[in-house]
């Protein structure tokens, strides 16, 4: 594909960069990028990608513009209030760059449409504002082997990473679940509407996401692959940490499209995975089954020390950061009086395992 004279002029300031050149511009013009969420992060991402000449952009957002969005969602004007974000964003981007193709998907991304939407694009950008959608997009990208640019914000801090990028040997880099294996509970982490945000922060983080996207498409520079970048706008401090792709993460991600569509991401209709309360007789006999682990969730040092059957000790206080180490099909949990173990059983239950709780704890049965 040859650049025409208008293209050469429009993109001249980036084409003259030695590392960039016309070849990189052609790659951008031929690329297809899906931006999910056209809010605080999505707006700057979209603006810079369209301006840079990404040839085909999809925008997924079912929300409408509200007055309280305008301090940070800079694609919209006061006249946009009440109108579809995806549609208004397309208008704004085509006014900026009418030579590219921009498509609005004014729908909520969910497990019924995510795979079809994502399949059509080369790279996905997550600018959403809730965990359910973030985990859904991550899992869909892993399943479809699409790279994912991640950004998120909290008050004065922002995080950026590039997930699921294949290296030269075809091995995928770390994804979101390598960093945070499980979705937080509802209300565990406040979002922007609850916690507040200064408009500049998503501007900075969104611009960094667009930068990573352009670098991935054109192959210049180095990406935030297997890394998480953190920026604090109050202190101007940055922090970068290494994230490693872990084998056990794969167990948390649906293995195929059917499993993906059967996974519950949204809290509102969450099906609680259940566990079973059992007495000591069943508990002892379940222990004999293959692929079984017995876990004492009491804190270190609690007495009595149980010696009458084999088990491991993962205190409740650290369980939530260790659950990825528990891959057995059958999980038996116990504690002193059977209260903490109920929480552990609830927490550990998923679609792939069977969890049993020793009802009443070891105290009921005088176990030691």
């Amino acid at each position: 594909m040859q650049l025409n004279s208008d293209d050469k002029e429009r993109y001249s300031r980036q084409i003259i960069l030695k590392q960039f050149s016309e070849a990189a511009q052609q790659k951008l013009l031929q690329s297809k990028v899906l931006v999910v969420g056209a809010g605080g992060l999505g707006c700057p991402v979209l603006q810079y990608l369209a301006a840079a000449g990404v040839g085909n952009i999809g925008i997924v957002d079912d929300d409408k513009v509200s007055l309280s969005n305008l301090h940070r969602q800079v694609l919209y004007t006061t006249n946009s209030v009440g109108l579809s974000k995806a549609v208004m964003a397309v208008d704004a981007l085509l006014a900026l760059n009418p030579t590219i193709t921009v498509k609005a998907f004014p729908v909520r991304i969910d497990k019924s449409n995510a795979l079809e939407l994502i399949k059509e694009y080369d790279i996905i950008i997550d600018g959403t504002d809730n965990f359910a959608t973030r985990y859904l997009i991550n899992d869909a990208c892993v399943l479809l082997q699409k790279p994912l640019i991640y950004g998120s914000i909290y008050q004065f801090e922002g995080q950026v990473a590039v997930f699921n990028v294949k290296n030269d040997n075809g091995v995928a880099s770390a994804n979101y679940r390598d960093l945070f294996p499980h979705q937080p509970e509802p209300d565990e982490v406040p979002n922007c509407s609850e916690a507040g945000v200064l408009g500049v922060l998503p501007g900075i983080i969104g611009a960094m996401m667009a930068n990573e996207c352009i670098k991935w498409i054109t192959g210049i520079g180095s990406l935030l692959v297997n890394k998480l970048f953190i920026y604090n706008t109050l202190s101007n401090q940055t922090y970068e940490m290494e994230v490693v792709a872990k084998e056990e993460t794969n167990k948390l991600i649906p293995a195929n499209e059917e499993e993906f569509k059967a996974t519950q991401y949204s809290f509102s209709c969450e099906v609680e995975h259940t566990f079973e309360d059992v007495g000591i007789k069943d508990f002892l006999s379940l222990m004999q089954e293959e692929d079984t682990v017995v876990i004492d969730v009491r804190e270190i040092g609690e007495k009595p020390i149980v010696t009458s059957f084999e088990h491991i000790n993962i205190p409740m206080s650290v369980l939530k950061n260790q659950e990825q180490c528990i891959s057995q099909k059958n999980i038996l949990v116990f504690c002193h009086a059977g209260i903490r173990s109920v929480d552990a059983a609830k927490y550990l239950s998923n679609s792939k395992n069977k969890v049993y709780n020793l009802k009443g704890g070891i105290i009921r049965y005088n176990i030691d």
Binding site: G40, D126, D129, G158, F180, V189, K246, K320
Partner: protein
């Protein structure tokens, strides 16, 4: 041995001062000690980084190790 912990997001709001712990040699102990001091941490999922590397499983903490606690952010 005294380690200083860098915190982010809502974990940073748990303490107005830097979190400093003494005699912590691995991340399991670290997390237990943190929960004793900040019980709210029990209800927050977060990643732990030792020397700028996100860990999984119990990890040794050296005298000069840099520890960071990072909760996920959802805002966009």
């Amino acid at each position: 041995m005294q380690i200083t912990i860098i915190t982010f997001g809502q974990i940073a709001e748990l303490s107005s001062d830097k979190i400093i712990l003494e005699n912590v040699h691995d991340t399991d102990t670290l997390q237990q000690r943190l929960v004793e001091e900040y019980p709210a941490l029990l209800n927050i999922k977060y990643a732990v980084a030792v020397d700028k590397k996100v860990i999984s499983g119990n990890t040794a903490i050296g005298e000069t190790s840099a520890i960071a606690l990072l909760p996920p952010f959802s805002g966009g």
